[in-house]
């Protein structure tokens, strides 16, 4: 069987991992294939070949450029090894526009997709998160485990496992920051009081090769040693093992089926020519918005709003009573350290999650200008030594989501112009729920020794969470813009959507692992069906 995978992000990696287990499947992966700039990559490689003490300051300066502020968003856009390549327009953002401050850097053209720059938080969805899905979590368990066995993974057995099981063999996390340790200790001492007020605290679960971590402090700007997982690592391995054929430099324009198989018309970015590539099966994994543009324009779904479900992000700075002893990211690991889980029901469907991040240099850059003056140096240090930044998420059913509208392209060789706007379906729940979250965190503050800075708590703009999907949701009996449990819309039998575009809902749990597991499930089921 000839299979074509479009994309090289986490969904594509999940599907490729499942398919590559069958020697009778010929797997070809096409992708925009954007890469880190040569100078930055050279610096990264030099650093990867040496111990942190031997790194040149110029290389460190190149790769550790902090995040950049973007208009209307409280959270700056991350940089990876000093580059914006995960967000850069390699052609895939052609015709993308947004209104009202929405994020428009929503499709990655990078090899590895947004996992080049993600937070690496890796957590299984709660069982109740699947209440609105056409299959239970148990149907995904084997796929979750299969994916976890193929990626680096670190975590600990703690209270979070009451909702999010720690499946697979997780390595222990590296030692946590002073603030994180204090918060977790306080939670252990006052667990009953904290939980009575509706908050559960546990340690991070990360796609991180923790046992090798040298705690160089550069996690948030890119691990020079590649210990933080990126989907590109999966593809590098599959290419090296000759299990797939990978071709970068293709921008998919249109999908279709003919002669019992499927085809994609793709622009060769080097030549500009549009080529038709055929396969028995096509797995579409361009990221939820990239896939939606490709599928909807192929099916003439123009000028009609397509609703996206988003697990909206909120930024929640916390201030601790006690300060950390030093203000530096050196000799530490700076990924997410601990999680706060706020259940709003018994079964664990209505969960809100907050990921706690320790000090990193980006926080220094983000503080108000007035605190950066020499006269305010001591106050600045006093503040930063007490700050922990929380990135929180509400589930999609409490979030506004956003609408995407496509217009017919000028010619068949163009991508359909795409505009992203605020959703007409916004129920306005997010502000109310965020107030409830604030209330709980204020009530547990005396016990945890850390309080939210309420005036600075803010919801991020639509699209900024990167946790969105649901444009072609799985359904048992699909109709209209729904897909079956194999990710197929009604018009097609050999084209499978495998990214978050098929998620019926988006839980507040970080969702990349679930994307990979679901893509793995679809590919596994396709193979099983083929073998009868």
């Amino acid at each position: 069987m000839k299979v074509l995978i479009i994309g090289a992000g986490p969904a594509a990696a999940g599907a490729a991992l499942a398919l590559s287990g069958d020697p009778d499947v010929d797997i070809r992966v096409i992708d925009v294939g954007g890469r880190l700039e040569a100078d930055n990559d050279a610096a990264r490689l030099r650093m990867a070949a040496a111990a942190p003490t031997e790194w040149s300051s110029s290389d460190v300066r190149i790769v550790s450029e902090s995040a950049h502020r973007t208009e209307g968003n409280p959270l700056p856009e991350k940089r990876n090894f000093g580059s914006d390549f995960p967000f850069h327009d390699f052609g895939q953002l052609e015709g993308v526009s947004g209104e009202g401050g929405v994020n428009t850097h929503v499709v990655s053209g990078a090899y590895g997709g947004f996992t080049n720059t993600w937070g690496a938080q890796t957590m299984v969805y709660s069982a109740a998160s699947f209440d609105d899905w056409p299959f239970p979590r148990s149907e995904l368990e084997a796929d979750y485990r299969a994916v976890l066995s193929q990626i680096p993974y670190a975590g600990e057995q703690d209270d979070l496992a009451e909702y999010h099981p720690l499946w697979g063999d997780a390595e222990h996390l590296p030692s946590l920051s002073e603030n994180a340790v204090r918060i977790l200790d306080a939670y252990r001492r006052h667990r009953v009081q904290v939980r009575r007020r509706g908050v559960i605290v546990g340690r991070a679960r990360l796609a991180l090769r923790a046992s090798a971590c040298v705690k160089c402090g550069l996690c948030m700007t890119g691990c020079p040693y590649s210990y933080v997982y990126s989907a590109s690592q999966t593809f590098d391995q599959l290419i090296a093992d000759k299990k797939i054929t990978y071709e970068g430099g293709y921008l998919a324009l249109r999908l279709g089926e003919s002669d019992g198989g499927a085809f994609v018309e793709a622009r060769n970015l080097a030549t500009g020519a549009v080529e038709t590539l055929r396969a028995d099966k096509i797995f579409v994994a361009c990221g939820a918005i990239g896939t939606t543009r490709l599928v909807a324009s192929s099916l003439d779904m123009f000028s009609e709003p397509i609703h996206f479900q988003e697990s909206v992000q909120f930024v929640m700075p916390f201030v601790s009573i006690r300060a950390t002893s030093a203000l530096t990211q050196d000799d530490s690991f700076t990924l997410n350290q601990f999680n706060m889980l706020l259940p709003f029901d018994e079964a664990g469907k209505d969960l809100v999650q907050i990921h706690g991040y320790p000090y990193n240099d980006a926080m220094d850059d983000a503080i108000p200008q007035i605190l950066k003056t020499p006269a305010m140096r001591r106050i600045r240090a006093m503040v930063l030594k007490r700050v922990t930044v929380g990135l929180g998420y509400l589930p999609s059913w409490w979030s506004p989501g956003f609408d995407l509208t496509l217009e017919r392209p000028a010619s068949s060789g163009d991508l359909a112009p795409l505009s992203i706007g605020h959703s007409a379906l916004d129920s306005g729940q997010s502000s109310k729920r965020l107030r409830q979250v604030n209330g709980r965190l204020v009530r547990v503050a005396p016990f945890l020794g850390v309080a939210p800075v309420l005036p600075m708590v803010s919801l991020s703009a639509p699209g900024k969470s990167y946790h969105f999907g649901g444009s072609f949701p799985h359904a048992t009996k699909p109709s209209g813009r729904e897909s079956d449990t194999l990710g197929r819309v009604e018009a097609w039998r050999s084209i499978h959507l495998v990214d978050a575009s098929v998620f019926p809902t988006v839980s507040a749990t970080t969702f990349t692992l679930t994307i990979m597991a679901n893509a793995h499930r679809i590919a596994r089921r396709v193979l099983e069906d083929r073998h009868g």
């Binding site: 496992a161 009451e162 009953v192 009081q193 018994e346 664990g348």
Partner: protein, 287 residues
């Protein structure tokens, strides 16, 4: 089949009934010994390491062990919740396919009671591995134990304190034990939370009057405002005064669950719970 907490009120009764029904039962108590019939009892403590072969050969395990002696919240959590989670994990690793956890109607989303919160946390761990959670209501009948024993002591006071607005779900011990045994033996039942109680809540005043009648008390009931009493109990506990009733128990009485979960599951298995006070008198006649 295994039963932890077999030295306790419910655990012992469940073990006996399972044995009566012809099952090969392994009892787990604090210390290894022999039971009344001379059968070996395996030692299992909530806060001690679990040996590798402790659950060998079991296909079902009823978790009824709980230690109420620890009054410090953090220590009680460590012993009961973390200990129970370790048992669940070890049983699962040993291939035990059916786990039935004896929780409480005090365990419900939004409970403020320590005991309910702790039971709820263990419930989550059991449900995550596909086990069954049972929540008995206020258990009466048989040899009075647990809360019924406490209430029977209150009923013997010169005036019987009651709390307005407190309504509790009740269950006769025989019905509860029968239901737990059924769920332990039936491996087809899907993972669920099943309330083991009559679905009609009974006003606390009515419960106390019935218990008063059963113990031969003619004392009058008196409505007590529970908030000041709760505050008083909490204050006395903080200064270390030993009390016959804990503030946490009072909280369980005055802020009970609003409904009985899993009624459909119970009905599908033919589990029925007699209305209160059916069967109450016999228990006090015996005692």
């Amino acid at each position: 089949m295994g039963v932890t907490g077999a030295g306790g009120y419910l655990g012992g009764a469940v073990a006996s009934l399972l044995r009566e029904k012809g099952h090969d039962v392994v009892e787990y108590r604090r210390n290894a010994s022999e039971d009344d019939n001379g059968s070996p009892v395996r030692g299992l403590q909530l806060d001690a390491p679990i040996g590798p072969d402790v659950f060998e050969g079991l296909h079902s395990l009823v978790l009824a062990a709980w230690d109420l002696s620890e009054t410090n919240g953090a220590k009680s959590w460590e012993r009961n919740v973390e200990g129970s989670k370790r048992i669940v994990s070890a049983a699962r690793a040993a291939g035990v396919s059916r786990i039935v956890f004896v929780s409480s109607m005090s365990a419900y989303y939004g409970t403020h009671q320590n005991y309910g919160l702790m039971k709820l946390a263990v419930e989550r761990a059991v449900l995550e591995i596909g086990g069954v959670v049972v929540r008995p209501g206020l258990v009466y009948g048989g040899t009075p134990g647990g809360m019924t024993l406490t209430l029977s002591r209150l009923a013997r006071l010169p005036v019987i304190p009651v709390f307005r607005g407190a309504n509790l779900f009740t269950a006769h011990v025989d019905d509860v034990v029968g239901a737990v045994a059924t769920l332990a033996a039936d491996r087809e039942v899907a993972s669920a939370v099943v309330g083991l109680a009559n679905p009609v809540p009974v006003p606390f005043k009515e419960i106390m009057r019935a218990i008063g009648d059963a113990v031969g008390s003619s004392a009058k009931t008196i409505d007590i405002p529970w908030r000041p009493l709760l505050l008083l109990l909490q204050t006395l506990e903080k200064v270390g005064v030993p009390l016959p009733v804990r503030s946490d128990s009072l909280l369980g009485l005055v802020r009970p669950a609003s409904d009985v979960p899993g009624l459909d599951v119970a009905a599908s298995l033919g589990l029925a719970f007699r209305p209160f006070p059916d069967g109450l008198d016999e228990s006090f006649e015996v005692s």
